[in-house]
């Protein structure tokens, strides 16, 4: 049975999963949805508790053997582990730990920050222009209370100064970390190309025009972004965009983590 992937425009988690799909060579039917208009909660997308309560926020849904799956890094692991050659994740236990730990830090620190700054810059105005009734209808089917509250806050323009500052600091720190990681001249973050490259690129590439200062002196990061875009899987992913600037497509992401 072929898999079905419901995905948004190629940015953030949708980018990770689309590129992972192409890297691993699985056959899947692609069904684009508009994550920025809450289409993931419409009746066309199969849902279960893992989709509804995914703390990634608005990400893609992969349906394999009838089971809807959410959370981009773990979907990417699934695609890797069910492919024959483990193309985007190391099999050595310690290298795998490095990848999972790297991804965890992206998921926990970078994704919430990027989503916060991203939706403020790219989604808030669009939502506030909607009629009340349209917006209410959009969020009515959202089961996760905290995700629903994030939608409402974005529409109301309720962005907290401290969280904005913290998010900017997190983006800056992430770019520094990437640049340091690449300082020995390696092409990919952990040596071999992996899900860590995809997930990091997916959340950071759209920050370049929102937080340009963070990237200014990060020349190695700039070159790595260039290599990412030249990779066939990523180029193919970007070519699926419905908008001219998919890196400017932001939907509500994970909440800002309170314990650091």
């Amino acid at each position: 049975m072929t898999m079905v992937l419901y995905h948004g425009d190629p940015n953030g988690p949708s980018l990770t999963v689309l590129a992972a799909l192409f890297e691993t060579g699985h056959d899947a039917e692609l069904r684009p949805i508009d994550l920025t208009m809450g289409e993931r909660h419409s009746d066309t997308v199969p849902r279960n508790v893992e989709v509804e309560m995914s703390i990634e926020g608005e990400g893609p849904v992969l349906v394999a053997d009838g089971e809807p799956m959410a959370d981009s890094v773990f979907i990417a692991c699934y695609l890797n582990d069910s492919a024959t050659m483990s193309p985007i994740a190391p099999q050595d236990p310690f290298a795998r730990w490095q990848m999972m730990t790297w991804c965890r830090q992206i998921i926990e620190r970078v994704a919430p920050a990027a989503a916060y700054l991203g939706v403020k810059a790219r989604l808030a105005d669009k939502l506030s222009a909607l009629d009340d009734a349209v917006f209410e209808k959009l969020i009515a089917p959202i089961k996760s209370g905290d995700l629903k509250a994030r939608w409402a806050d974005i529409r109301a323009g309720a962005f907290d100064e401290a969280k904005i500052d913290d998010s900017k600091a997190k983006i800056k720190a992430a770019v520094e970390k990437v640049d340091t990681q690449l300082s020995d001249g390696r092409d990919w973050l952990l040596g071999d190309f992996s899900i860590a490259d995809l997930e990091t690129y997916a959340w950071l590439s759209g920050m370049r025009d929102i937080e340009p200062a963070a990237f200014e002196s990060a020349t190695r990061t700039g070159a790595w972004i260039g290599r990412m875009q030249a990779r066939p899987s990523v180029a193919r992913t970007l070519s699926l965009a419905k908008t001219t600037a998919p890196h400017q497509t932001w939907a509500p992401g994970p909440e800002i983590n309170r314990w650091g």
Partner: protein, 253 residues
Amino acid sequence: MSDVTLYHWEPNANSGKPMLALMEKGVEFNSHYVDLLDFDQHKPEYLAINPEGTIPAMTHGDRVLTESTAMMEYVDAAFAGPKLMPDDPKDQWRIRWWMKFMDQWLAPSFSMIGWSVFIGPMVRGKDPDMLKAAIDRIPMPERRVAWRKAIYGTFGEEEMKESQSRVALGIRMLEEELSKREWLASDHYSLADVNGFNIAYALPLSQPDLSNDEKTPHILEWLRKIYERPAAKKTWAMGKTDLAARIKFLERS
């Protein structure tokens, strides 16, 4: 002597995860107790191992590992012994999803309650100047805030209410999940159970009105089944405080 050293606190939450995983695998390890209530995790000797100043950390030869959930995956993959991850990649996905849900959604809310009713009162009586210096030494700003709130009892009403309602929902979700399958997230005892147990054993203790034999029979049965395992018994016997001793309520009469 083993080439594995685990830096851990009580068998509880993040510390308990690799402790129980190592025990299940039958891996001998050197136990290095880091006293969280004495702020050992922020002292220079420990920061040399984990600069984030959080527990646990593990060394295996010259490798240093942090992040308890990824660490457990390493333990499972790197050592012989019973597999704690089923072979099916779909099961693995579900297990990782539930571990993330525990780590990043349920545990933070539950531990806010734990820090305010347990950890705060346990350290509050210490010398005020010492406490202030201890807070100033904490590397992560978010943790500095959390410790301050725990010590001075200043968690806000709204955040406590939100944590309470998340814990209530988390309990309902776990009960529902465990009524579908024998184990959490798959049909096999796995890292999801090791992870889940370390948070969930304390749910009936902390929230007796929400989690008990009448309301959440599947959670209670699952906890008892895990606590019956020799590895769990050995792990909780390593506890030094009342926090760990409370686990006895899971003994079948």
